[in-house]
């Protein structure tokens, strides 16, 4: 062990005190994003696309309408859970306005866009379930199951 470090003890103590003081005021790195926020964003985007397809492709109107309804409810429930855990700092801030997505006019392409979206959403949600807190595991498990079930009505 080196006894004489060459740094006067007083300097070290001052340095420690400054570091501690800095720790009090420094907000530190922001907390990691809530994983459910990404699920909520995806649900909202899926609902918007399904709404656009429901009006652009009459043959898919019924199924796409179901996707829009269910994924819209997912977005609402997931956002509520994110905000329950971490209330938003400003209540006036809202999501930036999004331009409605362009729906593929072609039935085949539209159907593929919907099913691919549901498959990706199911996978993303399922991947979170094993490690989530219990209440959230139930909610996200239901979202997973709903995405898989929606493919049956397309």
């Amino acid at each position: 062990m080196r006894i004489n470090s060459g740094v006067p003890r007083r300097t070290v103590l001052v340095g420690v005190a400054l570091g501690a003081a800095a720790g009090c005021t420094d907000p530190g790195p922001p907390p990691p994003p809530d994983p459910l926020a990404a699920l909520a964003d995806r649900a909202r985007a899926d609902a918007a696309l399904a709404t656009a397809i429901a009006s652009a492709v009459p043959s898919l109107a019924e199924g796409a309408g179901e996707v829009a309804r269910v994924r819209g409810e997912h977005a609402t429930a997931l956002k509520a859970e994110v905000e329950r855990e971490r209330p938003p700092v400003s209540t006036t801030a809202s999501a930036p306005p999004t331009t409605p997505p362009a729906a593929p006019k072609d039935e085949k392409a539209a159907l593929k866009a919907l099913t691919d979206g549901l498959t990706a959403a199911q996978k993303e949600a399922a991947g979170l379930v094993p490690a989530l807190p219990r209440y959230r595991a139930g909610l996200v498990g239901s979202v997973t199951a709903a995405c898989a079930s929606l493919r049956e009505v397309l």
């Binding site: 219990r134 595991a137 139930g138 498990g141 239901s142 997973t144 199951a145 709903a146 079930s149």
Partner: protein
């Protein structure tokens, strides 16, 4: 997935899910007489999957030193089964009951392997419930949150 010392609330939820699997198998057996051949494949798949789930669940409990709950001798359908539509509706009900039971397991366990298997059971039953609701001519084929009681 052997886990000695399974928490009490997890045991209760898994036993309830096993009960839902027993009930679903009984229902599949009951309805087959009322459904035309076009349903044979769906019936076979449903029975095979519920049997597998029932056996795996009973083994999981036994491995934790718990006696798996046996099937009831018979079950009482909420409505009499008289034809194709009422038969399909009863299967949809049994599958829906299974989704509720398996989601409850998700909310009452922390074990990752059990979570994965409960999620698979919830998802597969939700898919089948949707198919049987469509077969029964139900309007709302996809609940927004399958398994939510």
């Amino acid at each position: 997935m052997s886990q000695p010392g399974m928490p009490q609330e997890t045991v209760a939820a898994v036993q309830a899910a096993l009960g839902a699997e027993h009930a679903a198998l009984w229902v599949y057996g009951l309805v087959s007489a009322f459904l035309p051949a076009a349903y044979d494949k769906a019936l076979r798949e449903g029975v095979a999957e519920h049997r597998e789930r029932r056996d795996a669940t009973a083994e999981l409990l036994a491995a934790a030193g718990i006696t798996p709950a046996p099937a009831e001798a018979a079950y009482v359908p909420p409505e009499p089964v008289e034809d194709e539509a009422s038969a399909a509706k009863l299967v949809a009900t049994a599958e829906t009951d299974a989704t509720v039971a398996w989601r409850a397991v998700l909310e009452r366990c922390d074990d990752k392997a059990l979570r994965e298997s409960a999620l698979a059971a919830l998802t597969q039953s939700a898919i089948r419930a949707t198919r049987w609701r469509l077969a029964a001519g139900s309007d709302a084929a996809v609940p927004s949150f399958p398994g939510q009681p």
